[in-house]
């Protein structure tokens, strides 16, 4: 996939991101290596949201006046863009607050009403807390059980073990497409097929893949695929659930209120068609406008080219980190099997201290458990340091990181 595509000119792209193009207060540039947490926003996204508020701000879906109709069009264009990005029918594209809320929507609207005692929800040992905790809550309510598929010492899913854990009691398999800690890219289409073999549903957490590579929801064939706007150059406050329309139609609502009804009487209510059935209350309108602009921005560059760029960065980053004494990178080393999130541990240096030192060089990385504590326990550590790249990351950023890590060891007196 995408290896033949021409990589992007990341240095030129950086200029389109005001935050990255502007020096920090100390006059030096920022090396932003925390895009797995949230991406920076290009001028095009800022402009689109600004224009929405200045030109057509109105509530959506019921206004009779022209401006309200235009606001509705711009809002729905966000849904259309998100659906197009992952090749999914737009009636199956539910807009939520974030990917976490999208998973909670499935857990509550489907899980609490469907799961029974003895049922199993299978998730993997490299899930983000957002694909663990909702299922644990639902399991407590329903008597179902959350089962974890193990990972190998190399940071990949043990596919044989996973296959062995899928059985007729399995009702849902939840799997992350690309790990936010290890970078591992999982064979999600194969796992979805395994789930379907036993009649289970499949949920793919594509939060870390959709921003970085072409993702074809139709080919993956999951019943639910979630991702979020703010990691793909869009604003915070908007996430997406790409659900199989037939499954969504069979589900009861999640949150109740305005927007999501067909009729309301004192005796009860009937509900709107999908996807509005799952969108109670005034939706994130400006955020949907920003999401559309972000998707167009990515499409103009080309997701295959972004993937090719990050594949090159993988090679550069692994080589750079290998030059740092006492540093061990976690996860796969094959750039075809990993995304651009790199976690490592360093002998005698704590992630907090590393991140603090890097901050003094305007290098932004993350230190901690990355909302994946079960994975941390498997890895035998409490915390890692993580650098994560994106389309605007340059080799200069990678080398700045390498040099600072080497200096960091000296500064703390550990070599």
């Amino acid at each position: 996939m995408g290896n033949s595509a021409t990589a992007v000119d990341a240095t030129a792209l950086k200029a389109e991101f005001p935050l990255l193009a502007t020096p920090r207060p100390d006059g030096r540039p920022v090396h932003y290596l925390d895009s797995a947490a949230t991406s920076q926003k290009p001028q095009a996204v800022l402009d689109a949201m600004d224009a929405y508020y200045r030109e057509t701000n109105a509530n959506v879906h019921r206004g009779v006046y022209e401006m309200a109709a235009e606001a509705t069009d711009r809002f729905e264009a966000g849904r259309t863009a998100a659906a197009r990005l992952v090749n999914h029918p737009r009636e199956g594209l539910v807009l939520a607050k974030n990917a976490t809320e999208a998973i909670n929507l499935v857990a509550w609207a489907w899980g609490t009403r469907t799961l029974r005692e003895g049922d199993e929800i299978l998730v993997t040992g490299m899930e983000h807390h957002s694909d663990i905790v909702p299922w644990q809550i639902v399991a407590t309510i329903t008597g179902a059980r959350v089962v974890f598929a193990p990972i190998t010492p190399g940071g990949e899913l043990d596919m044989d073990a996973l296959h062995g854990l899928i059985n007729p009691r399995t009702r849902l398999v939840g799997v992350v497409h690309s790990s936010n800690v290890l970078g591992t890219i999982n064979p999600v289409a194969d796992i979805v097929a395994m789930a379907h073999e036993v009649g289970a549903l499949a949920l793919v957490d594509a939060t870390q893949s959709v921003p970085h590579m072409p993702v074809d929801a139709a080919a993956i064939d999951a019943d639910f695929l979630v991702f979020t706007g703010h990691k793909l150059c869009g604003p915070t406050g908007i996430g997406c659930l790409a659900g199989r329309p037939a499954v969504l139609e069979g589900m009861e609502p999640f949150l109740g209120g305005g927007e999501m009804i067909s009729d309301v009487t004192m005796d009860g209510s009937t509900f709107a068609e999908i996807p509005l059935k799952f969108e109670a209350g005034t939706p994130p309108i400006a955020e949907a406008v920003g999401l559309a602009a972000a998707v167009e921005f990515l499409e103009d560059i080309g997701l295959d080219r972004i993937r090719a760029h990050e594949r090159e960065l993988c090679v550069q980053m692994l080589a750079a980190l290998d030059e740092v004494p006492g540093l061990t990178v976690l996860g796969p080393r094959d750039p075809d099997r990993r995304g651009a999130a790199f976690s490592w541990v360093m002998d005698d240096l704590h992630p907090h201290d590393i991140a603090q030192f890097l901050d003094s060089k305007n290098i932004c990385v993350r230190a901690g458990h990355h909302c994946a504590k079960p994975l941390m326990r498997v890895l035998g550590t409490q915390a890692t340091t993580r650098a994560s790249a994106y389309l605007y990351t340059t080799e200069d950023d990678v080398l700045a990181l390498r040099d600072a890590l080497i200096e960091c060891r000296r500064w703390f007196g550990v070599g």
């Binding site: 704590h350 992630p351 201290d353 603090q356 003094s360 504590k373 409490q382 703390f412």
Partner: protein, 149 residues
Amino acid sequence: MGGLDDLYQQLILDHYRNRRGRGRIENASASVHEHNPVCGDECYLDILVVDDRLVEVRSDGDGCSISQAAASMLTEVAEGKQLDEALDTVEHFRLMMHGETEPDEDVLGDAIALEGVAKYPVRVKCALLSWLALRDAIAGYRETTAHGG
């Protein structure tokens, strides 16, 4: 790099590399196990109390330089103090971490070197972990003795 030097004073790095009071106490009067939810770091704190005085304070666990140095300094400062005096010291340290008092070196000893941490809200928890563990340990000790334990 002025900011970094303010945060990581030599005294802190010295306590980090040569940690004092590390370990556990067999037959401790009270033990506390704390963890920092931000990073998952863990801290064990044991105290031995005789005649209302901390005759021994030991801390164990892994963590960043700030948390390790803070624990090291704590054991030095707290050992030998009366319980109420130790609690006053912890409170003085806590206020310093929140920038709410002028720190007194006579009270805090080496721990005054952690004053710069107050400017880094995410790291304040690292510094406070073991100190608040001491507060909890004293409270736990008093509860058991009050109930005739």
